[in-house]
């Protein structure tokens, strides 16, 4: 009994001494830098709607007498974006179909359902734009896109190899989306020559047409020698990279709520015109005239004609000059406006983020330059007129040794050599639509790696001029596998993670395309609740 009391008093004294701060365990780091941590929220999104009478061909008008619950199934979720109220939109390829499901053509870009599933379960592809409330419920009234149009034979001038099943109205090859400061939803496609602007607040009964506001570019006509969309650098279909009205497979869009330094107007539209062309091109409606019907402001960027690390092997002695983009799919693949007033662009084939001043828009219009630079060592040659010197170039190449000492791991090396690291970025924490007026810190870059099947947290370099190149250490990963690839279809794993966005609460959303076909939500779990930026 006595020894019990001694033990009790001893334990109490130790607990009080430590607990009251009379002795601090100084050998552990008291002020460790807290990199954001996330956990996957498996409860988000909730099940998609299963409207009875749902028929793609007539949506949203129900089929009379049809009592089967047709659950919406998203296809390749190629894009995602966040609005002012933390609703999440996906732009998915559910409706781009060619095979037969319930008598409806689909192809391998269609919803993740086959004929038997669809027949037995009554599942049908969702509309191409699906809106989710912050709690994961689908907002049917803001989900839109008329799926009948893929069956239309009117494919315009498009003569590509897989015209079948493409929407005649929304962009082919559904890709990125963006919600601007006024609440408009922008979408772009990597199989077409258009970006489109919609008002999701008045979506619903009339389908896509009711929400359509404007389009830049011409359906099925691209900025190439032949007008055929594609990414050829030479030949009859060579990309031209200079049209003031046409685009060439643009994957991403951002809109600036501030006055642009070149346009002099609010609301510059930045387009990553980057699957066929290789430029950032800026438009503003305030510049629309009879001679400038798209409101072209300017452009910069061109292709360097190759990748620095094709197939994982560095291209010896032939780096892509700063300010150019690698060739291959997606160059540039994203455009994001930072609250530092800079324009962040993804040079996906080269695994780097190129950061520019907005004044780069003054580089165009110019006399049509060559699409591919021929001699980067001649600064004034006509071939590189379009190279605006970047303010900063961030190579995503290095895992911070503190976090991941085993850089030599084959898996990590493979992930690093894959040329799709800079697939999409989010400046975190962020309020996307406010861009450079965002009051949040944007201290980190959250980076989506397509082939590496993971999403990484980088520290955003903040140093000033002269810091042209920076290697941004990967501070943390978002997938549940830690650093290195995290492939899989379970929660917290990734298959073709493609785009990302965050909301005002610091939640991070990742859309998976091709075989992933879903969107996942990651919730910050940092003990310091620094991410809660409630705004309205």
């Amino acid at each position: 009994m006595k020894s019990g009391r001694i033990l009790y008093v001893g334990a109490l004294v130790v607990a009080l001494v430590v607990g009251l701060g009379l002795w601090k365990p100084t050998h552990v780091k008291a002020h460790r830098e807290r990199v954001p941590k996330f956990r996957v929220d498996v409860s988000w999104p909730k099940e998609l709607p299963a409207p009875t009478g749902y028929n793609q061909a007539t949506w949203p008008t129900p089929t009379p007498g049809d009592n089967v619950a047709h659950r919406w199934v998203q296809g390749e979720v190629a894009g995602n974006c966040t609005d002012q109220w933390d609703n999440i939109y996906t732009f998915n390829r559910a409706w781009q179909v060619g095979a037969s499901v319930n008598g409806v053509l689909q192809n391998n870009e269609s919803g993740a359902i086959d004929g038997n599933d669809a027949t037995a379960a009554g599942a049908l592809p969702s509309p191409p734009v699906v809106a989710f409330a912050p709690d994961g419920r689908t907002i049917k009234e803001r989900s839109f896109g008329n799926p009948t149009l893929w069956l239309a034979g009117a494919h315009g001038a498009y003569t590509g190899t897989s015209a079948i099943g493409r929407s005649a109205y929304m962009p082919y090859g559904a890709h990125g989306c963006f919600v601007d400061y006024q609440g408009y939803l922008w979408v772009g496609g990597n199989g077409d020559g258009v970006i489109q602007k919609y008002n999701p607040a008045v979506a619903g009964p009339a389908g896509a047409a009711a929400t359509y506001v404007l389009q830049i570019g011409t359906k099925d006509v691209c900025d190439t020698a032949s007008g055929i969309c594609g990414s050829s650098l030479t030949g009859a279909n060579a990309a031209l990279n200079h049209s003031t009205t046409l685009l060439n497979e643009p994957p991403d869009i951002s809109v600036d709520p501030e006055v642009g330094p070149v346009s002099g107007c609010t609301g510059d539209i930045y387009v990553a015109d980057g699957y066929g062309n290789a430029r950032i091109v800026v438009f503003n409606p305030c510049k629309v005239t009879a001679g400038n019907p798209s409101g072209y402001v300017g452009q910069w960027g061109t292709s360097c004609g190759h990748n620095e690390v094709p197939n994982g092997t560095p291209f010896p002695g032939n780096p892509c000059p700063l300010g150019t983009y690698g060739t291959g799919a997606g160059h540039p693949h994203c455009v994001v406006l930072g609250n530092d007033g800079l324009v962040y662009t993804c040079d996906r084939p080269n695994g780097r983020i190129e950061v520019f001043e907005k004044t780069c828009a003054a580089y165009g219009p110019q006399p049509p330059p060559a699409m591919v630079i021929t001699n980067p060592n001649l600064p004034n040659s006509s071939s590189n007129q379009m190279i605006c010197p970047p303010k900063r170039v961030i190579y995503i190449t290095n895992f911070g040794p503190e976090n991941y000492p085993a850089v030599s791991s084959p898996q990590v090396a493979a992930a690093l050599s894959a040329g799709t690291r800079a697939c999409d970025i989010d400046l975190y924490p962020n309020v996307d639509y406010l861009a450079d007026t965002s009051p949040t810190s944007q201290r980190y870059i959250l980076n989506t790696d397509l082939d590496g099947d993971n999403n990484y947290i980088l520290e955003k370099p903040t140093s000033g001029s002269g810091d042209i190149t920076a290697t941004s250490p990967i501070l943390g990963s978002i997938g549940k596998c830690g650093f290195g690839p995290c492939p899989g279809h379970n929660a917290g794993e990734f298959a073709y993670s493609h785009t990302n966005s965050s909301d005002s609460k610091g939640n991070f959303y990742v859309a998976e395309t091709i075989t992933g076909r879903r969107i996942q939500k990651f919730v910050p779990v940092d003990d310091d609740d620094h991410h809660d930026h409630d705004h309205h």
């Binding site: 009234e141 408009y184 008002n199 705004h535």
Partner: protein, 447 residues
């Protein structure tokens, strides 16, 4: 009384009339959060609010392309202001106030003037710049109502009937700024009713007593724990030490949580949930194996700490309505829990006595405890799965200090409970039934 009835009737009428006219039975609007400030001045109350325009349905704003034609929008805005003056109700001492001045206009979706009161009032009172583009269905209605009041010391209540048909999905954030006191924030929903902005201590106390009773009566896991506690006992007296230990322990953690002393990691809530289920399993197994009941108060006290955290989660969202009476509200909530417990025990003990008449005592203890253990085991497994998903905290200086504080609190609570039990034992030596005796007797009888 008559006045209250008239008010209730009026409220119900508004719910039906205004609620229906403000919204139609659509899907959930994209934004259901309204933002407001209530500032009390010596002779007036200022109410400034921002309402998502798609929450106020039925307004036919003129359009110019896809955007509102702001130059022609004022008549519809006036209509919206009139609707919102009906939809927001401010009461002074239960009398509805009428605004003496109303202003308002549309504002764009990206506007951030509602981040503080002064800017919100300044911008709302200014005429809208017609060159600002506001997309159809986007943006907000910003309003500023001025209500004459008789005294800043009155009791003020607020209620929102805007889109009240959406119930708890419609949220009004209220930042209440009383005269000469610190401001407070609260969130009320479409089904909150009239909420007191500056409750007197007895208002707060009454509300939290009810809340405590409701919580214990609706908390099935707490009830099952209580059930397992009392299964072996035949009389109240044997329960005194156990119930006292449970009460003290859960009060400690409940108060600690209210003062933000609980661990904050994402792992903690699922840990508490799982530990509550585990506490039921343990208690049921202890009943089955016929453990020494003299020491039951110790383990009950330990588990009481965990249940206190559980109670705190129920309290968390409600403390915003405590006004400046945090301690009173906490104490009242605790009292409510004790009242609820006594009510439950008043039913449980006679029911158990009846049960013992038809089933041999020891057999009955085993059957009931096995059933409880079965249910709780499933809860525990489910909650373990949730806990596994949660990231565990890293062992740094902060977490070691927090751990030490909790160890100290736990040891102190243990010591206090022991002293109390010893005191009770000395004070009522002949009355306190030694529970272990009964257990041993019943065990012998069964064997």
């Amino acid at each position: 009384m008559l006045r209250t009835r008239i008010l209730v009737f009026a409220f119900l009428s508004f719910v039906l009339f205004v609620g229906c006219s403000l919204t139609v039975a659509h899907d959930l609007p994209a934004n259901t959060i309204m933002n407001s400030f209530v500032k009390i001045e010596p002779h007036q109350a200022d109410f400034v609010a921002r309402v998502p325009v798609d929450l106020v349905r039925g307004l036919a704003y003129p359009l110019k392309g896809d955007q509102y034609d702001l130059a022609l929008s004022q008549p519809v805005t006036e209509q919206a202001i009139a609707m919102l003056a009906q939809g927001f109700i401010l009461l002074e001492n239960d009398v509805r106030l009428t605004p003496s001045k109303t202003t308002g206009h549309l504002s764009p979706a990206a506007d951030r003037s509602f981040e503080d009161y002064a800017t919100a009032v300044e911008e709302t009172d200014k005429p809208l710049d017609p060159s600002v583009g506001i997309a159809n269905g986007m943006g907000y209605l910003d309003i500023h109502f001025v209500y004459p009041i008789s005294s800043p010391k009155s009791v003020f209540r607020i209620q929102s009937l805007v889109a009240a048909d959406l119930g708890s999905l419609t949220k009004l954030t209220v930042r209440y700024m009383p005269l000469g006191e610190p401001s407070r924030a609260m969130i009320i929903t479409g089904d909150s009713g009239a909420v007191v902005l500056n409750p007197a201590w007895y208002h707060a106390a009454a509300g939290f007593v009810v809340l405590g009773v409701e919580h214990i009566l609706s908390g099935i896991d707490h009830l099952l724990f209580l059930f397992c506690l009392v299964i072996p006992y035949r009389r109240w007296r044997g329960l005194i030490s156990v119930i006292t230990a449970f009460t003290i322990a859960h009060s400690v953690t409940l108060f600690a949580s209210a003062f933000n002393l609980a661990p904050k990691g994402a792992w903690f809530p699922p840990f508490v949930e799982m530990a509550i289920a585990a506490s039921i399993v343990y208690m049921a197994l202890e009943n089955i194996v016929g453990a020494d009941l003299r020491r039951r108060w110790v383990i009950t006290g330990m588990f009481g700490l965990v249940h206190g955290f559980g109670f705190s989660y129920a309290l968390g969202q409600q403390l915003q309505f405590a006004g400046s009476h945090l301690l009173v509200s906490l104490f009242s909530f605790n009292v409510g829990i004790e009242i609820g417990q006594l009510m439950v025990l008043a039913v449980m003990l006679p029911a158990l006595a009846l049960f013992r008449r038809v089933v041999p005592e020891r057999v009955g203890v085993i059957i009931l405890s096995a059933l409880a253990a079965h249910i709780a085991w499933h809860w525990m497994m489910e909650r373990w799965q949730a806990l596994k998903q949660a990231p565990w905290p890293t062992l740094d200086a902060d977490s070691i200090i927090t751990l030490a504080r909790w160890a100290a609190a736990l040891l102190l609570a243990f010591g206090a409970a022991r002293l109390l039990v010893n005191w009770l034992g000395r004070k009522f030596p002949s009355r306190v039934e030694l529970p272990e005796t009964r257990m041993e007797q019943t065990t012998r009888a069964a064997s």
